[in-house]
Each structure stands twice: as structure tokens, then as C-alpha cells.
């Protein structure tokens, strides 16, 4: 009995998650006439115009390119600096590594506004304001720190015996990292990178303060569409929201796998 009730509650909750998402996707294919109705309309004449309008707008294309360039670059910087550090913390723990872990975590305590105002003046001062490079460097702080944090458990799960065996075979410490630990932990690490990507893809406040036109990322472009005046083109807005949400959702499988391996029993 209790089990059935529990299951019904859980399915209702799943509906609470999927309902609004599906509704937004449906609305992306509606004209304003079908969208702005006192009674929500399930049956209507679907149109593709919103989607083609959004994809055809130069500002959206520009935002998409900016977002992709900025996110991929900053995630890559996060990999280059974050993974070796995470490995060192995981495999060579000493009294410093705990302090370093805390330092990396404490970077997350900083309110984004506090960082964004001075950064705006700095980038203005050296002529890099509203550029992709400025945002890539700014976001590197986020990607490096989250990569360190999420990759530590990934490296800890690599069986020590494998690394010992490689050492016996004559691998030096760096070769053990590059040719053994890295490939073995790869699956978990990909999940960590996916989290890092989603984090910067979704970032809004700093992008809002550090860009005005040429380096605007997709979240900013999408949010500006809602301020197009009194005649809000709701269908177009829905289409933009769907486009903006697609990349993180495409990573869903990878992220769920990451959660499974991180929280599975440590004794593996």
C-alpha cells in the first residue's frame, strides 16, 4: 500500500519536472494566438517559424559561437591546470593538500558581483572589455576550481595497485599520471568536465557585466529577447530557451554516470 502511494508521489514529482520543460518545447512551436490563451491549448497548428527566426538571427548565432568558444576554452584551461593538481592532492596527500583543497573551495564563497565590478574596470583599462579572451580568463577561475574538486574523487578511485605495477615496470611519476591514472580515471573525469562545462555555459551575472555587444554569450542574448518591448514574442522566446538548454541536456547521460561512479561504494 505505502509503496504504491510512494510511487504515485514520485511519478507526480517527475511530472513536475517534465511538465514545464515539455510545455516550453511545445510553446516553441506556437503562434502568439495559440500561446496567449486564458485556457492552455494542447491542440494547435504547429509552426516552425519561431525556431527558424531564432536560428536565423545574427545575434543568436554570434551568442552561440561566443558561448561555445568561451566555454570550451575555459573548460580546457580548467583541464590543464585542474587535473594535475587534483591528481597530486589525491595521490600525494600531506598537510598542505588539505589547505589547498579548502582554498579552492573557498573561491566559490566569493560573490560574483564582488569579482565582476573590479574585473570590468580591469578589462576596460587594458582594452579587453567585451572580448572573448576576457571572459575565458574570468571563467577559468570557475573551471579550474571545479575541475580540481570533482576530479579528486575520480583519481582516488583508480586502484593503487595499477599505479604500483606501472612503477615496477619502470614508469616514472609523470608517466604514471599521463599513461595510467589519466586513462583509467577517464570516464569519471569526463563527467567532471561536463559539470564544469554546464557551470560556465549557464553563467549569467558575470557575462552580463563583462560584455555589451561583441562577446555576449547565449544566456545574455536569450534574456534580452524577453525585453523586446510590449509585444513580447513569446513563441520566439520559448524557442530561444530551448536552444539555450539543449547543450546541458545533451550531457545528461554523462553527468548521471559521473554521479553513479562518485557515490558508489568506495571499496572498488
Amino acid at each position: 500500500m505505502g509503496r504504491t502511494v510512494s510511487r504515485i508521489v514520485l511519478w507526480l514529482m517527475a511530472a513536475l519536472v517534465l511538465g514545464p520543460v515539455v510545455w516550453t518545447i511545445i510553446n516553441a512551436f506556437k503562434l502568439n494566438v495559440d500561446l496567449l490563451t486564458p485556457t492552455p491549448k494542447l491542440f494547435f497548428n504547429p509552426i516552425i517559424d519561431n525556431v527558424t527566426y531564432v536560428l536565423g538571427r545574427p545575434s543568436v548565432l554570434q551568442g552561440l559561437i561566443n558561448s561555445l568558444v568561451i566555454c570550451i576554452s575555459s573548460v580546457a584551461i580548467g583541464v590543464v591546470f585542474g587535473l594535475p593538481t587534483a591528481y597530486a592532492v589525491a595521490r600525494y596527500p600531506n598537510r598542505w593538500t588539505e589547505e589547498i583543497q579548502f582554498f579552492v573551495l573557498s573561491l566559490r564563497f566569493m560573490p560574483p558581483v564582488a569579482v565582476a565590478i573590479p574585473l570590468m574596470l580591469i578589462w576596460l583599462g587594458i582594452g579587453l572589455y567585451d572580448s572573448q579572451i576576457a571572459l575565458i580568463i574570468t571563467y577559468s577561475l570557475l573551471t579550474i576550481s571545479i575541475t580540481v574538486w570533482l576530479a579528486i574523487p575520480g583519481f582516488q578511485r583508480v586502484p593503487k595497485e595499477i599505479e604500483e605495477a606501472a612503477r615496477v615496470d619502470g614508469y616514472d611519476a609523470y608517466a604514471v599520471f599521463f599513461r595510467v591514472a589519466l586513462p583509467v580515471a577517464m570516464r569519471t573525469l569526463l563527467g567532471a568536465l561536463a559539470f564544469s562545462f554546464v557551470l560556465v555555459w549557464n553563467e549569467f551575472l558575470m557575462a552580463l557585466m563583462l560584455t555589451t555587444s561583441s562577446a555576449k554569450t547565449l544566456p545574455i542574448v536569450a534574456s534580452e529577447m524577453s525585453q523586446l518591448g510590449m509585444n513580447v514574442p513569446w513563441g520566439i522566446l520559448n524557442a530561444a530557451v530551448v536552444l539555450l538548454s539543449l547543450p546541458p541536456l545533451l550531457l545528461l547521460g554523462l553527468l548521471s554516470g559521473f554521479m553513479n561512479s562518485i557515490f558508489s561504494n568506495k571499496s572498488r
Partner: protein
């Protein structure tokens, strides 16, 4: 052998230096700006030392923003944890492997959505004339219901979206934590005829104490990032009823008067409070 001793340094030191530059340069500069009288319109700046800070404590809108932020933290952290614990336990107790996997995937969706998107999706759902959420109310009473324009309800409507994003995500984490527990203590409790909820209240949740406290900690940090939701849904309105600290700092610096020094002094206070507060909390938890 020498290499093994050198590795931690070559792997940690460069990263540490990069992070330190990226973090300390802006923070120190933020403090300097907060002691000046910079505005967006004028290029020059003079030092006014603590004038901005003194002015802040006479600024009723700032005190209001402090209060709103505090309310926001309490509402979102407690609601997220409550939702997550209940749903996590329900999944653990009542589902088989297949349903569990499906739900895990579904429950991860909200947190992955850009906050701007989540805010927009729900803003439209709360729309008084056309919204999906307000539809039953319209149909039953014939009146309109504008949650986001109600000074008392607006903050809860925004908090709902925050909990929608984080509660389901944390539910999945709590499910994974429950799955990773050793089964023997739960089995023993069951043999002692403990009921479902008793088992969790007396056995499994206490075993997860440290993990749950860490989750509360993470949520407290993430709740500080309310800006995206507030900016899209209400812009701090109606009036100042949903104006959190970062929203107020942003509007002082960028929307209304361009007083970036004043905004920066607010941001510095936020930074000091969160750094000191969270560091103390973290050390205590450890």
C-alpha cells in the same frame, strides 16, 4: 625517487599561482574601488575611504536587501533539504532498479537547465493571464492570480524555482548516499520491527549526518547565487520585496545610478561576511 617528491610541486604550484592571481587581483581591487567615489559616467576617482560603508548602514534599501537575502537563504536551504530527503528516501524505499534509473535521469534535468531558462519557464507558468500554474485558479474563480506581483508571495515563487532546480538534484545525491550505506544496520532495524520512517530517522539519516551537513553547506553557498532568477523573474520587485544583495548591488552599479564604488562596497561586505562565515562553519564541520 626524486621525481616522486617533485611531482606535487610541479602539479600544484602553477595552478595555485594562477588561481591566486585570478582571485586576489579582483578582490583587492574590489576593496580599493569600494574606498573611492567611482561612477560609470565619470572617469576619475578620489579616495573617500569609509564613506560608502558608513552610508550603507543608513541606507534602508541596503538593510532591506540584507533581510531579503537572509530570508532567501533560510527558505531555499531548508526547503531544498526537506524535499531532497523525502524524495531520496521515497526512491530508496519504493522503487526497483528500472524506475530508479528513470527517475534519476529525470530529476537531474532541472539543475542542468540554465537558471535564466528555469526562471523564464516558470515566469511564464506563473503568468496571471496565460500561465499553466495559474490556470486552475482562473478556471475556478474567474479572477487572475499574479504571484510575482504580490510583495508577500513573490519571494516564495522565486524560491520555488530554486528548490525545483536543487531539490531534485539533491534527492538523487541522497539516494546514491543511501545506496552506498552498508545494509546490515538497516536490516537489523527491520528485524527489530522498526517501521520504514523509523529506520531512516533513527538509523540511516544519522549515519549520513556528515554528508547531509556537507550538502547543507553546498546549498548555502549556491543559494547566494540568486541573481539570475531574481533578475529574470522580478528584477527585485514588486517594490524592493525580492531585492537580494547581489540584485541591489547590480542595480546601484549598473541600472540606476552607475555608482560602482557604492555597489562595490556592498559586494565587499557580502564577501567578508560569506568568507568569514563559511570558513568558520567549514572548520567547525570538519
Amino acid at each position: 625517487m626524486k621525481q616522486r617528491q617533485a611531482l606535487p610541486y610541479t602539479f600544484i604550484l602553477p595552478t595555485f599561482v594562477v588561481l591566486a592571481i585570478l582571485a586576489f587581483v579582483p578582490t583587492i581591487y574590489a576593496v580599493i574601488i569600494s574606498l573611492q567615489d567611482r561612477t560609470l559616467s565619470a572617469p576619475g576617482a578620489d579616495f573617500v575611504w569609509f564613506k560608502n560603508y558608513l552610508q550603507l548602514f543608513g541606507d534602508r534599501r541596503f538593510l532591506n536587501a540584507l533581510w531579503v537575502s537572509l530570508k532567501w537563504e533560510v527558505i531555499t536551504v531548508t526547503a531544498t533539504m526537506a524535499v531532497a530527503i523525502v524524495l531520496g528516501i521515497l526512491m530508496f524505499d519504493a522503487t526497483g532498479p528500472r524506475m530508479r534509473n528513470t527517475l534519476t535521469l529525470i530529476f537531474l534535468i532541472p539543475v542542468l537547465l540554465p537558471r535564466v531558462c528555469a526562471a523564464f519557464v516558470w515566469k511564464f507558468a506563473f503568468h496571471p493571464l496565460y500561465g499553466l500554474v495559474t490556470y486552475p485558479y482562473r478556471a475556478l474563480t474567474g479572477k487572475t492570480l499574479d504571484l510575482l506581483a504580490d510583495p508577500n508571495a513573490a519571494i516564495f515563487a522565486i524560491a520555488f524555482v530554486d528548490v525545483w532546480q536543487w531539490g531534485f538534484f539533491f534527492a538523487v545525491i541522497i539516494l546514491k548516499l543511501l545506496e552506498a550505506l552498508p545494509p546490515q544496520p538497516l536490516e537489523a532495524a527491520r528485524l527489530d520491527h522498526a517501521k520504514g520512517w523509523q529506520i531512516h530517522y533513527f538509523v540511516s539519516l544519522p549515519m549520513l549526518r556528515t554528508a547531509l551537513i556537507s550538502l547543507v553547506f553546498v546549498k548555502m553557498i549556491e543559494s547566494l547565487r540568486s541573481f539570475d532568477l531574481v533578475y529574470v523573474m522580478t528584477r527585485g520587485g514588486p517594490g524592493v520585496s525580492t531585492e537580494t544583495l547581489d540584485m541591489y548591488a547590480f542595480s546601484q552599479g549598473f541600472i540606476e545610478s552607475g555608482k560602482i564604488s557604492y555597489a562595490s562596497s556592498m559586494a565587499v561586505i557580502m564577501m567578508i561576511v560569506t568568507l568569514v562565515g563559511f570558513t568558520l562553519l567549514w572548520k567547525k564541520v570538519k
